[in-house]
């Protein structure tokens, strides 16, 4: 009889057996289950999952191979950044036709978005999703950002990023609440009417400065009081009449009325 067999009726034998079973199961499970997709590295599984999502949600317009057709652009070469922006802000899948795709609710989870992005990025090289460090507002220079924003962005998005009109019903949207990542991606991919500000024309550091500026504008209170929308003299004139003159006329009516 072996030493193991002699101890088979030891009181702790059952405990040892259970522990062994758990260990084996756990190791086997860990070995067999695929790893979670990492943020910066994609696996072929991500690309496959992304392709499946693409075929289900995007191919009807953008073509089975993302080659595009008619008015729907080809997605070959647009890069992960485009997908992360368009899908992440809910603009895509397009809900209805119109002058442009409006911001909407993102239907997908973050993982699904990155899978879609991985698939499209795999078609051809294109702009990548920026790293957290690249879009960190704390690392940006707000003053430089304000100069760059005024020259490159304010004419469409207004001095405080509140948005502005383009031709034929198109518009540059309000930038309040847009995440730093999405701002970066929009600059680098040039969605819809927005021009392309690649990393040569506006360097990554400059982009971060712009992001810092926008973050500041978004979060800071207006030192004079209610900002009235930060859209300029139109709202100010409206308030002057509807609040100011109305109150004064009200006082005048009270003044001229006979007392009871």
């Amino acid at each position: 009889m072996t030493a193991l067999a002699a101890r088979r009726r030891h009181p702790l034998a059952a405990v040892a057996l259970v522990l062994l079973g758990l260990l084996v199961t756990g190791v086997a499970y860990a070995a067999v289950t695929p790893a979670r997709a990492q943020a910066t590295t994609t696996s072929t599984d991500d690309i496959a999952a992304g392709k499946a999502l693409f075929l289900a949600n995007c191919a009807t317009c953008h073509g089975l191979n993302a080659e595009g057709r008619d008015r729907f652009p080809s997605l070959i070469g647009v890069g992960a950044a485009s997908v992360d922006f368009q899908v992440g802000t809910g603009r895509m899948p397009l809900q209805a036709t119109g002058p442009q795709a409006p911001k909407g609710k993102n239907k997908f989870t973050a993982e699904e978005v990155s899978q879609l992005a991985a698939y499209v990025a795999s078609l051809a090289p294109g702009p990548a999703v920026p790293s957290a460090q690249q879009v960190d507002p704390a690392a940006g220079n707000q003053s430089n950002g304000s100069l760059l924003f005024r020259t490159n962005c304010a004419m469409c998005h207004n001095f405080a990023g509140k948005g502005g009109a383009l031709t034929r019903g198109k518009y540059a949207p309000n930038l309040a609440g847009v995440t730093p990542t999405h701002i970066y991606e929009a600059m680098v991919t040039g969605p819809q009417s927005m021009p392309v500000f690649n990393d040569s024309t506006i360097t990554p550091q400059d982009k971060r400065d712009i992001i810092a500026y926008l973050g500041a504008v978004d979060s800071e209170t207006s030192p004079g009081g209610f900002s009235l929308g930060a859209i300029g003299p139109v709202s100010e004139g409206l308030v002057a009449w509807v609040v100011g003159l109305a109150m004064l006329v009200g006082c005048a009516v009270w003044l001229g009325a006979k007392s009871s």
């Binding site: 002058p99 707000q142 003053s143 950002g145 304000s146 100069l147 005024r150 020259t151 304010a154 004419m155 469409c156 998005h157 207004n158 001095f159 405080a160 509140k162 948005g163 502005g164 009109a165 031709t167 034929r168 019903g169 518009y171 540059a172 500026y213 500041a216 504008v217 207006s222 030192p223 004079g224 009081g225 209610f226 900002s227 009235l228 930060a230 859209i231 300029g232 003299p233 139109v234 100010e236 004139g237 409206l238 308030v239 002057a240 009449w241 609040v243 100011g244 003159l245 109150m247 004064l248 006329v249 006082c251 005048a252 009516v253 003044l255 001229g256 009325a257």
Partner: protein, 556 residues
């Protein structure tokens, strides 16, 4: 101090003043002057008090503002501008907003007050227009007021251009282009005004002088003249029982109006201060310093210039053309020079136009109810409609963004509307006024509807009308019954053609335009006829304890 000591002190002050400037005569003339009471007479006061508020807050601002485009590096507390090259004007305005206690408040009160100043001038002007207060002897005051309105717009533009920020600088660029567009002398004028090319270095100091010295001086003179005329000619009054063209019914200056009008100054100042406390206006730190290369979406002037901006946006470009090697920019001259010029001219000349149409040379101190001057009221509403359409177009990009419309569609639509809607507004308003006049006639002839339903023994229902008493009726019947002026014969009794025949024909056409469609006020004879209709001739007399009239049947 006891009352006798106070009285003695007042007495010695009064004595001092009387012996040097004849104060007792002034008190006699002014203190018990009667002014009529109506809230719509306060609108001019809002403008006057706003002017004083602008002077007071403006002086505060001048203690801190530096009128120079000299370059300086921004080192103030607003981080988003740190290290940028800005002008002294811009930096000093920011410093007074951020580093001076109460500076932001004074600046915001100043700007809100400017907006309210022009708004109250416009409202006051339309009150004067719709009630006919511009008629003889007040034509001169109307002209002075029109000039004040125009100067107020220019003063406001100069004022908000002083901080040299991106938005106002864009406006100055547009102003310089308007000057450039003037034929023959445009480029010379622009170089003289700006001291060279745009933007140059002279425009801030020059605007400052215009804003702080030249225009306020002219304002003080014109406002003083405006008020002196008001006191000498006495204020107009609304018609009513006891009020005639030869009297003024109201309350004395001292103590009632000293308290009411004096109190109203504090009210206006207080409400303007409240706006400065609660609402940000003209956030120049967010716009950034002026530079000719960047621009912001939503570039508009302050509201009172919005109509001009709208007119410019509407005008199509083909109106600019070349002529023998010279360029005539009709696309700029039409909306920026010709349209405001025409509007101003018609506005200033209106009292004489109407006087020509009515042939009325008498003094008028009783105001018109707008419904009793249907053509004038219609013309006024037409002007307001035209103005509002242009004003709204001035903000077409803001409207497009907020209502998800296309700026191109808005512009194309308003191009049509601006020609079609004002005449329609005129027609609609005139018809409404005539309708209201007919309603007044009905009310006089047949009494006020009481809402009481009476049933006769035969089962007939009718509404009981209560006749108006003298006081209720007076306001409805006292107005003028103008008739179109008949043209004099074109030839005199010897068959010689009269030299002014053509003039007379135009005049009688204008008079017809004004008064052909009219509803005349009820006369006593007509009222008697109506009573007779009710109580005699054809209708059964109704035995009723209140002796009320039967409902009106056929019309007047």
């Amino acid at each position: 101090m006891s009352t006798t000591t106070t009285a003695k002190a007042a007495g010695s002050v009064g004595n001092w003043a009387d012996e040097r400037v004849g104060a007792s005569k002034g008190v006699k003339f002014l203190a018990r002057k009667i002014f009529p009471d109506h809230w719509s007479f306060m609108l001019g006061e809002v403008a006057l008090y706003s002017f004083i508020i602008l002077l007071l807050t403006g002086v505060f601002l001048t203690f801190f503002y530096i009128p120079s485009v000299g370059h300086t590096t921004y080192t103030g507390s607003y981080e988003e501008l740190a290290g940028q090259q800005v002008s002294e004007a811009y930096a000093s305005t920011l410093a007074l907003s951020f580093d001076v206690r109460g500076g932001m408040l004074m600046r915001q009160i100043h700007h809100w007050s400017a907006l309210i100043f022009v708004a109250s001038i416009v409202t006051h002007m339309f009150r004067v227009f719709f009630t006919g207060a511009f008629r003889k002897p007040r034509e001169l005051n109307w002209v002075i007021g029109s000039i004040l309105a125009l100067l107020a717009i220019i003063e406001g533009f100069a004022g908000y251009s002083l901080p040299d920020d991106l938005l106002s600088g864009t406006g100055l660029r547009i102003a310089s282009s308007i000057i450039l567009a003037i034929p023959v002398v445009g480029s010379y004028l622009s170089f003289f005004v700006f001291g060279g090319q745009f933007p140059g270095e002279e425009f801030i100091p020059r605007l400052y002088t215009i804003h702080v010295l030249l225009l306020p001086g002219i304002f003080l003179a014109l406002i003083t003249a405006h008020l002196i005329l008001l006191v000498v000619q006495k204020h107009t009054q609304y018609p009513g029982p006891g009020r005639t063209n030869e009297n003024v019914v109201g309350y004395p200056l001292f103590p009632v109006y000293v308290a009411k009008a004096g109190g109203f100054f504090f009210i206006v100042f207080g409400i303007t201060a409240l706006m400065g406390a609660l609402f940000t206006i003209n956030p120049i730190w967010a716009y950034g310093a002026y530079h000719p290369s960047p621009v912001t979406a939503g570039s508009q002037p302050d509201w009172y210039m919005g109509w001009l901006d709208g007119a410019v946006r509407l005008t199509p470009g083909f109106l600019e053309f070349q002529l023998f090697g010279f360029t005539l920019s009709g696309n700029i001259l039409l909306p920026a020079v010709i349209v405001p010029g025409l509007v101003t001219t018609v506005m200033v000349l209106y009292p004489w136009i109407e006087q020509w149409a009515t042939g009325d040379r008498r003094e008028h101190h009783l105001l018109d109810r707008p419904r009793n001057a249907p053509t004038r009221t219609g013309l006024g509403v037409m002007a307001i409609t035209f103005y509002l359409l242009l004003l709204v177009t001035g903000g077409n990009d803001i409207i497009a963004v907020f209502l998800r419309l296309s700026i191109n569609d808005i512009t194309m639509t308003v191009r049509v509307l601006v020609l079609v809607v004002p005449p329609l507004a005129y027609l609609l308003t005139k018809r409404i006024c005539l309708g209201l006049q007919r309603k007044d006639r009905e009310k006089v002839l047949h009494g006020r509807e009481t809402g009481v339903i009476y049933r006769t023994e035969e089962g007939e229902f009718f509404e009981v009308h209560a006749p108006l008493d003298d006081h209720e009726r007076w306001a409805l019947v006292q107005h003028e019954a103008y008739r179109p002026i008949e043209p004099a014969p074109t030839e005199d009794d010897r068959g010689v053609r009269r030299p002014k025949a053509r003039f007379d024909r135009i005049r009688s056409k204008l008079s017809g335009f004004y008064f052909e469609d009219r509803v005349e006020p009820v006369t006593p004879a007509e009222l008697e006829a109506a009573h007779a209709e009710h109580h005699g001739g054809g209708h059964e007399a109704i035995e009723s304890p209140d002796d009320v009239d039967r409902p009106a049947l056929a019309g007047n």
